[in-house]
Subunit: 322 residues, 4 copies
């Protein structure tokens, strides 16, 4: 479905940028896991705007209220629902955009799809704001994985020149690379249920992701088999590979080497520079200037989001095959 | 599940490289579609080995026998099952590989996963041979889409130097780009049910795919918003974009512009050059030389496979929202 | 998953009897449906306790707060989430029951399943209280169906002698029959995706349901084919049947005759009479007297719940095949 | 989907009564299970016609050819596909029925649904013939369960007077009760993923099933809580219940007591007595006499089918929670 992913640990995200609240339901968490609530907040704070020079000026305390699924901070086997109130919304910023789709956003196709009924204020349900509940869910999954020796860490390996872009009302993109260590060998399923299939399907749910690759990824297209193949050897009785071009996953299954996935983040489509658009009603060209508060670069804020989604997918796989 | 994809039009693939037969079940095809059986064979022939200089010497007539789902070559609403017999198998080629995982193949993790019971002959269920039933399914879906004005076409945009690699017992990879035209605006769902999520999940089911990107893809990481955003304009009353960096899909939804998806294909892992591996039982290093018949480059044969998978996913989406 | 049902219109229910709140997420509602909020409350009031002589003394205002999915009371295509606060909880009533499973409840298997971490206060996630968000979801689905000419109506066709049972601290069960009219012919899918399969799977999610039958149901076991078969005839150009032993559904597909489904409701397991149970820790027999506030008969309150679940399943089917 | 059920062990059934062949794909079987092929045949023979006085005269050897998923009769983790050729088909028997729906069959709604393209010969995809591959799948699942100490056994607890019905060209129905012993405590999930939900959804996929109940089932509607509640006691350190009105399942979860599920089978709708029907094209009443070869009572043949479906669902649940 549109707003859910996962098979045994299933995350459902709800809310629009300017609805009363946003949130997530996590079904299938193993019972008996005591959560560190402060650590969840800390994780979410990494995504909150205001920490990086290119961030939006929108300020949200983003304190999730957990409604269910916990007894004394411990999972009880029932679905965990958390709600985050939307407080700092300025819907009037979007009034002018009702019939004028912003280039690079989903405004145009969503208008056609929902026949004018879509909530386009602030990007509606497709807003980057929905990554807040994703981070909430991911923080929980990451905690549980960590107790099992699985660590997930993402970094931005490429970011455009933020301050320059900001100065001219433009934006830049980048690349986020996420690594997961401590995974058992053989996690995942062949063909369509593999680690790559599930991760890619979930990662493309993060707004602005335009590409997903594993290990050498697109660079493998330029390599020879003798280079790209990772030689096996035995180290302390464990089978390992000398290189990790395969990024820890072969044919859908983990190999025990670090899982390496990389996502391409496009430059934020909301820019203050003048753009060419159309009036959907009048069917004529218009010049567009987008007001509101925007990120000049969401790559830094996307880093914890990628970690979060990877954590959700990996915990799901661990629970499928526990 | 491991061997299925799709929601309303669901493809299930079965068989191993050296089992009695391989095949596919397609459930959810619309009733009343008269199929051009010759065109299916022609489509499958594009994938069959022996047409390109880097192809394996394995020869399979690959004539699918349709067991169900058709009456007078017309879909009747019941699942369509087709079976392709495996005839030219040489399992003895693989006896030596039982306990020695081939670098770059799923042999090692699948051995751990299935505790030695996996059918590793010829790659078993993860063999590229399973792309034959995928092409069968895709040929049918593409036919049905074509009648609705949707055309799918893939090409290899990059291929390594095949003849040189072949001469030294090595292999090369490449990139396949697939375009779909004629799609309606608004196909797909936001967040996790979008065109990108579904296509990526299915495309990573093709052996050797290491990356999937849409439109500008990873190149978008180097662009500014003002470059990457595609300006809207009106042409003959239709909303179009002047450029197509978004590859025809924004936020999970089609925009009416050509859908552009690109997949990275790694060099075939089966090479005849000597490689370093391990004996899984003795837990010691061994030198490995792989016999058998292999492709020096599967990129040309992957082209119709990518088309096939894209066709399956797009017909599924069309049926979901018909 | 445990707490979700539906394919295109997917209902996810969350909360425990004594958690901070309970609620539902409805994903896949068609956009552009203006909801009558008062009618939702009226529907939910039919389920609220205090209207029938056998109801529990627990009082909950049960006013759902809609967090997302609506703009000006109109669906916008994004998931609709509603939250109902739990206010009148008395967890101390359940302290004595921690290690003593109540006969007829899921206490025992859920203790084993979740290793003591289950929230058993008030029945936790398996409490009848979770039928409140089900009614919320069903009220919305029923409204949308009604606009399409589909009416759903359930009645209690059998109820035990409530006042007598109440007097002796006992409880009674009954049967709820639900009818849906106005359905198109051919809704549903053969084999495992039929109207019966989907309705039964969802209806067994209502606590205390022990049987589901369609049309003549179990009585058909005593009939002859010539009796049970419903003769076709033409009425005003429409194909109809003279009798309706098939309950409006044949082989998974609707026939255009009224859909008739019947569910058996067992007597409420919570009774105040002394019962024989065991101490799960001490592994010894104990006599159990359950305090707290209970329904002597939940059949009247189950009537709208059955309607609600039927509405959810039928709207889902309508959206699948729209 | 229409023709699949199961989450981790997924059964897909294909074929029509008069297609070239029918069969099943079983995905998700645990690897390393050595199958007793003769026992599968023996199981399927219990369903084959010709053993009971009310059976159809159609004769099919029904020898499944296993195409994939096994190496030396041992599951290898890849999907297992088996094909059964259709040999004794007499499609001409059905020519007269093309536009005249048989009362009690799905002919009418399936004609509307598939716009005349449905394969109605012999009942097409909704024919009882499709229970042959179900029995094949169930025989395998039952074998695997048996090794884990889980035994499944069904019996006909009620059957109409077959010989009398046969003499007058009529048919009778009955009730099949299935018991499963040896199940662990806590199998299943609360609400919509429970044992009851999954079993009911699958069992309604068997043609002619009109009702499904667990334990006391519909009889519970006439009981008081003090009667229907099953008292707990300790026997040899195990928690058991003195009675089994709950049929081994409470709130979706197994209790360790024998699982008891009962299905109502309607009288075979194909009878040779004259019936009232309509001509769908001319839209006028016609008298119908059905030729062909039919069962006067399918209850005896349904017994192994019910066992098979229960086995498939229980193995699926065991694999989900292994």
């Amino acid at each position: 479905m549109a707003s859910s992913f996962g098979e045994r640990v299933k995350i459902t995200v709800f809310g629009q940028s300017h609805s009363a609240a946003i949130g997530a339901v996590i079904d299938g968490l193993p019972a008996g896991e005591t959560l560190d609530i402060q650590a969840i907040s800390d994780f979410m704070a990494r995504r909150a705007p205001g920490r990086n020079p290119g961030d939006t000026a929108r300020r949200e305390p983003d304190i999730p209220r957990i409604l269910s699924g916990l007894v004394n901070d411990t999972t009880c086997g029932a679905p965990l629902c958390a709600v985050i109130e939307n407080t700092d919304t300025r819907s009037q910023d979007y009034d002018a955009l009702r019939d004028i789709p912003r280039p690079g956003h989903a405004d145009f196709p969503i208008s056609v799809k929902h026949g004018g009924y879509a909530d386009k204020r602030g990007g509606g349900h497709t807003s980057g704001r929905l990554t807040a509940p994703l981070c909430f869910a991911g923080a929980i999954c990451a905690q549980i994985l960590e107790k099992r020796g699985i660590e997930i860490c993402a970094i931005a390996t490429k970011t455009g020149d933020i301050e320059t872009a900001k100065a001219v009302g433009d934006s830049v993109g980048g690349i986020v690379e996420c690594t997961a260590t401590g995974l058992p060998v053989g996690l995942g399923e062949p063909m369509f249920g593999g680690v790559e299939n599930r991760l890619a399907a979930a990662l493309f749910g993060i707004p602005a992701v335009r590409g997903v690759e594993f290990g050498a990824g697109f660079a493998a297209a330029d390599m020879q088999g003798s280079q790209n193949n990772d030689a096996y050897f035995v180290q302390n009785g464990e089978i390992r590979t000398r290189t990790n071009h395969h990024g820890g996953v072969l044919g859908g299954l983990t190999t025990g080497m670090p899982l390496v996935v990389r996502v391409a983040i496009k430059p934020t489509p909301s820019i203050s520079r003048q753009q060419e658009s159309v009036d959907l009603v009048a069917r004529e060209s218009v010049e567009l200037r987008i007001g509101g508060r925007h990120d000049a670069c969401i790559v830094p804020r996307a880093v914890p989001v990628v970690e979060a989604v990877v954590a959700c997918v990996l915990l799901d796989l661990m629970e499928i095959e526990r």
